[in-house]
């Protein structure tokens, strides 16, 4: 610890006296704050691409078969002849939308951005344990993003087997055109992404364990850090399993092995593969896939805990219970993956076990929700845009969470599986919650990232358009699913032949959903404008704009290399001393020593 301090300190001094070169400052930077911003920029760009893809296929769903200039503008004659989307490309859009959103926006953008920016700042470290590995982690992420984008432009189309890329569909180019080069690029991109995620996660874990400043006990860490810590552990334990799943799939595709293939005739060709099991892939995939949901959610919950406590001017209610529920969710997330596979032919008894473990997760989740509610109770709420997004997150976490109870109940999952009910559920609980957490984080820590303030009025406008728009998209989707509509269908017109009631419902609701989707997408322009404008032209930020207790607000606004000029701060108290009775101001920074006779929390 001491030797590191000395080293980091020396390093800092050295840089104080001369300007850094552009390349080492902005491109191959090893400074955690810059790397965090690089993650954020890349993820925002990827998120925009994925959002555009979703608008393209939503147009097809609302007005099937109608010619659209918008589609031909973006997809050209090859994939949208006469402005009508091709079936294959529809699946390609859905697949890449899902992949980018889950991995590149919500994993890279959330954990990558905020773990990088906040871990050293909130635990009181000069930088990450390994600046070089941190840089490597970003550049792997950038490379994998690039490959994923390139896969959209190959002649045979991008991967088309859904974001879960189940074999045999993803293994056989004869089955769908996207399973050719597009799928190969998908797998290579994901393999590199996994490497990036692993390097990053190991770094986060080591930094949190080893580089906490004096007095920063584990039980004095802000909940953000607890969330990032557990997230990183989940990533380290589960991503390698996805890598193995991907490698076996690569071997099946390129080397003629039969891990996932058995007794198949495709495109008139009788394959000799025998003895493999497509179910094996699903087990491996969901062994990552379910923890992945929490890799996405936990950072968002951590950020919102911090934002809510700060802006309610109250300590987060039940700090220890919050840590306990993060740990419980983290542990349980490893033993629930089978609930994605109730109707795959998995042994029904095994299914029962997964029902039990899955529904257990509802308990720590409920604890979290009630603790948030009690934190708001009798608070003195300052409704900044970040605070509104954090409260919005709690709402979507509830609304999306309760439908999870239905899907986790195997007997009910039989009829709900792979319908729009599932799509509604996970978009609200995972997509909306995580995106709200991310927006909240950006609005809250923007002054720390760029030394300037974002425009608050535009922030409010952005929040309201996003909240109404996103709920407007995903809330009616439940009813489409309850009517029985399968997901990943290019067109529901066939319903008119056998069930006109359901058909009308689907047409109506799909048009409403697409309209809201377009509104919500346009609303993001407000954010982009505010974000980029404020980076350059926003008013200068004060050191501690939200009157917050945590360490990052004790660093200078100038964001120097090494974070603190002079000595590292010493921590004397927990991070949630807001509105302590008898205190002079309504917040006491962690660096303030206990007063005489004052009890540590």
């Amino acid at each position: 610890m001491a030797s590191h301090d000395a080293h980091a300190h020396g390093h800092h001094d050295e840089h104080h006296h001369h300007e850094e070169h552009f390349i080492s400052k902005y491109i191959f930077s090893q400074d955690h704050k810059m790397i965090g911003k690089q993650f954020l920029m890349t993820a925002v760009f990827m998120g925009l691409v994925a959002m555009m893809l979703s608008i393209l296929f939503r147009i097809q769903l609302a007005w099937p078969g109608e010619s659209s200039d918008f589609l031909s503008f973006f997809l050209g004659e090859k994939w949208a002849p006469n402005g009508v989307l091709k079936e294959d490309m529809y699946l390609g859009l859905v697949t890449i939308h899902g992949t980018i959103m889950v991995f590149f926006l919500l994993t890279g953008g959330l954990s990558g951005t905020f773990s990088n920016i906040l871990i050293p700042l909130q635990v009181g470290a000069r930088d990450m344990a390994s600046g070089f590995m941190n840089m490597l982690s970003y550049w792997f992420f950038a490379l994998s993003s690039l490959l994923m984008l390139v896969s959209l432009f190959v002649e045979s189309g991008p991967a088309m087997a859904g974001w879960t890329v189940y074999p045999p569909l993803s293994a056989l180019p004869q089955a769908v055109s996207g399973s050719g080069l597009g799928m190969t690029l998908w797998l290579v991109s994901m393999a590199i992404f996994i490497a990036s995620s692993l390097i990053g996660s190991l770094n986060y874990i080591v930094t949190i364990i080893n580089l906490r400043t004096k007095g920063m006990n584990m039980t004095r860490m802000p909940l953000t850090i607890w969330a990032f810590f557990v997230t990183a552990i989940l990533g380290v334990l589960s991503f390698p399993v996805l890598l193995s799943a991907a490698l076996l799939l690569i071997m099946d595709r390129l080397m003629g092995t039969s891990f996932y293939l058995s007794d198949i005739i495709v495109g008139g060709e009788m394959l000799t593969n025998h003895g493999g099991s497509p179910i094996l892939y699903q087990h491996l995939f969901w062994f990552l896939g379910h923890p992945e949901v929490y890799i996405v959610l936990l950072p968002a919950l951590g950020l919102s805990s911090e934002i809510i406590a700060t802006n309610a001017r109250k300590p987060i209610f039940g700090y220890k219970a919050m840590i306990g529920s993060i740990l419980a969710i983290g542990f349980l997330s490893f033993i629930v993956w089978g609930h994605h596979m109730f109707v795959t032919g998995m042994n029904p008894f095994l299914g029962s076990v997964f029902v039990f473990t899955t529904l257990l997760i509802a308990i720590p989740s409920a604890v979290k929700v009630f603790n948030y509610l009690t934190t708001l109770w009798k608070g003195s709420l300052v409704l900044t845009p970040a605070m509104l997004f954090a409260i919005g997150l709690v709402s979507t976490f509830i609304t999306g969470g309760v439908t999870g109870i239905i899907l986790a109940d195997s007997a009910l999952d039989i009829m709900m599986h792979d319908t729009y009910f599932v799509v509604a559920h996970f978009h609200i609980v995972m997509g909306m919650s995580a995106v709200f957490g991310m927006f909240g984080g950006v609005y809250h820590w923007f002054p720390k990232m760029f030394g300037r303030m974002m425009n608050m009025r535009l922030g409010y406008a952005h929040f309201w358009v996003t909240l109404v728009g996103a709920y407007g998209v995903f809330f009616p989707m439940h009813f489409v699913g309850l009517a029985g509509a399968p997901r990943r269908y290019y067109d529901y017109s066939a319903y008119s032949e056998f069930d006109s009631n359901s058909f009308e419902l689907m047409v109506d609701l799909n048009q409403i959903i697409t309209t809201f989707a377009i509104i919500a997408a346009l609303g993001q322009v407000i954010f982009l404008f505010n974000f980029f404008y404020s980076i350059f032209r926003g008013p200068k930020a004060p050191q501690n704009p939200w009157s917050s207790t945590t360490l990052e607000w004790t660093t200078p606004v100038e964001r120097i290399h090494g974070n603190w000029p002079g000595e590292l701060p010493t921590v004397h108290r927990w991070p949630y001393d807001y509105s302590v009775p008898g205190a002079e101001s309504d917040f006491i920074p962690q660096t303030t020593p206990l007063k005489e006779g004052e009890q540590a929390h």
Binding site: D69, E87, L91, A161, G162, P168, A175, S262, I264, V266, M270, T272, A312, K314, P315, F317, G318, Y319, A321, T344, G345, G351, V355, A362, V367, F370, N371, T374, K378, S380, L381, L383, T384, I406, D409, S410, L412, M415, H417, D418, M453, M454, N455, R457, W464, Y471, A483, D491, Y492, A494, F498, S500, S502, I526, P539, A541, P545, S579, P581, D586
Partner: protein, 406 residues
């Protein structure tokens, strides 16, 4: 092209307009000495009220959607199992809707009620073990009820069928379904994918089908012999890549031929009968009201999923793996048409696992008849068995075939 230019122009002008507005806002903020990180009481109260208004909007639209579309938008259950599931679904819905209303109400109500009022400090309330215990134990009890009821239903739904259950196989491939009824003996004939031929699309296993597959593999148009001939022909010159493809193809077929030969040696001809009387049915699946069905599922190429939305039944069909499902239709198509007030209504079997470009078109109409009508339909199929349709001359008694083979 002009359209695109106009769109671009509008976007650019819009961006400039917003930029100007923000400048104006900034200048006026400076004049008012407004700090960007300080939320004014006006903004605070406005957003608090808007949050509460949003809650009313959310609840209102939920109630509206519920009334307009209901939680069983696909109509009442059309199978015995579906009725059991709907009961469980309704119970679960009551619970989760109550939680949805209660917690969302508290959230938005608190946001509105406890918005910052100058001079009123927040209440320092870091924890309360009793409260925390309360909201750990209560959800645990509710979940215990949900789990117990759910697992009871689950074990019913996935348990074995009665011996009277009629057996049907659903065979899936890109992008259609084929049904195979077990015939008079209610036993489905065995199959092996290597026996797939034009006259044996379902790859049923009989002495005759093995023979014709062997013959086709050896003497067919692209069989082993013609490939060998092609490769041994000294007058033609192939490029390396073509040669490679042909050789791979040949070795694959030789391997398959070996497997087929082994199959022939191990085949028990007594099993032929169970395949011969199977009835292969395309386009429409006929079922009988009140009859329990034991459905076997099979996939030829990729994973498909047999999904009957009205029966509330679903199971994946996985290449190389046998899966099963069961259900008992309890309303005829005619009855459901009256109930839904839709003369064109039909039950449907859809594919519900992404399987390629035309995934959304992969379906089969299902017709549920009452018992007399079903029996009549079945009787009409008596002379349209697998054997009648594809191997009418293979009349030799199974025993004789065995004798000659030995």
């Amino acid at each position: 092209m002009e359209n695109k230019l106009i769109i671009l122009l509008v976007i650019v002008l819009g961006a400039i307009a917003i930029a100007q507005l923000v400048r104006v806002y900034e200048i006026s903020s400076k004049l008012r000495k407004h700090q960007e990180h300080e939320v004014s009481n006006r903004d605070n109260n406005l957003n608090g009220r808007l949050m509460f208004a949003f809650m009313i909007f959310l609840f209102g639209s939920f109630i509206y959607l519920m009334k307009a579309y209901g939680w069983t938008g696909r109509g009442s259950a059309a199978s015995e199992e579906g009725i059991e599931m709907d009961w469980l679904l309704n119970l679960n819905f009551v619970i989760i809707i109550a939680i949805f209303f209660l917690t969302n109400f508290l959230l938005f109500f608190f946001t509105w009620k406890y918005v910052k009022k100058p001079g009123v400090p927040a209440f320092y309330y870091p924890h309360n073990n009793k409260l925390e215990m309360l909201w750990t134990v209560v959800p645990a009890i509710v979940l215990a009820v949900i789990i117990i009821l759910g697992l009871q239903t689950w074990s019913h739904l996935t348990g074995p069928t009665n011996s009277e259950a009629e057996r049907i196989e659903l065979f899936s491939k890109q992008f259609d379904w084929t049904a195979r009824y077990a015939g008079a003996d209610n036993t489905l004939g065995l199959y092996d994918y290597k026996l797939t031929l034009d006259n044996n699309e379902l790859a049923l296993l009989t002495t005759n089908t093995i023979d014709s597959s062997l013959n086709n593999m050896l003497n067919g148009v692209t069989g082993i012999r013609s490939l060998q001939k092609l490769l041994n022909n000294r007058d033609t010159i192939f490029s390396d890549s073509t040669l490679n493809v042909l050789r791979t193809d040949l070795s694959r077929k030789e391997r398959l031929y070996r497997f087929l030969t082994q199959m022939k040696q191990n085949h028990n001809a007594k099993l032929d009968a169970s395949a011969w009387d199977d009835i292969i049915q395309k386009d429409t699946l006929y079922l009988c009201k009140g009859q329990e069905y034991e459905i076997a599922l099979r996939a030829k190429d990729v994973i498909h999923s047999a999904y009957f939305p009205h029966f509330r039944a679903q199971m994946n069909a996985v290449p190389g793996m046998a899966t099963r499902m069961k259900f008992t239709p309890n309303k005829t198509t005619a009855e459901m048409r009256v109930e839904k007030n839709d003369a064109k209504f039909n039950y449907i079997l859809m594919c519900n696992k992404i399987c390629g470009g035309a995934h959304y078109k992969m379906k089969m109409v299902v017709v549920v008849l009452d018992r007399p009508a079903y029996k009549k339909w079945m009787d009409g199929k008596k002379n349209a068995t697998f054997k009648d349709q594809y191997f009418p001359v293979a009349a030799a008694a199974p025993a004789d075939t065995t004798a000659t083979m030995n």
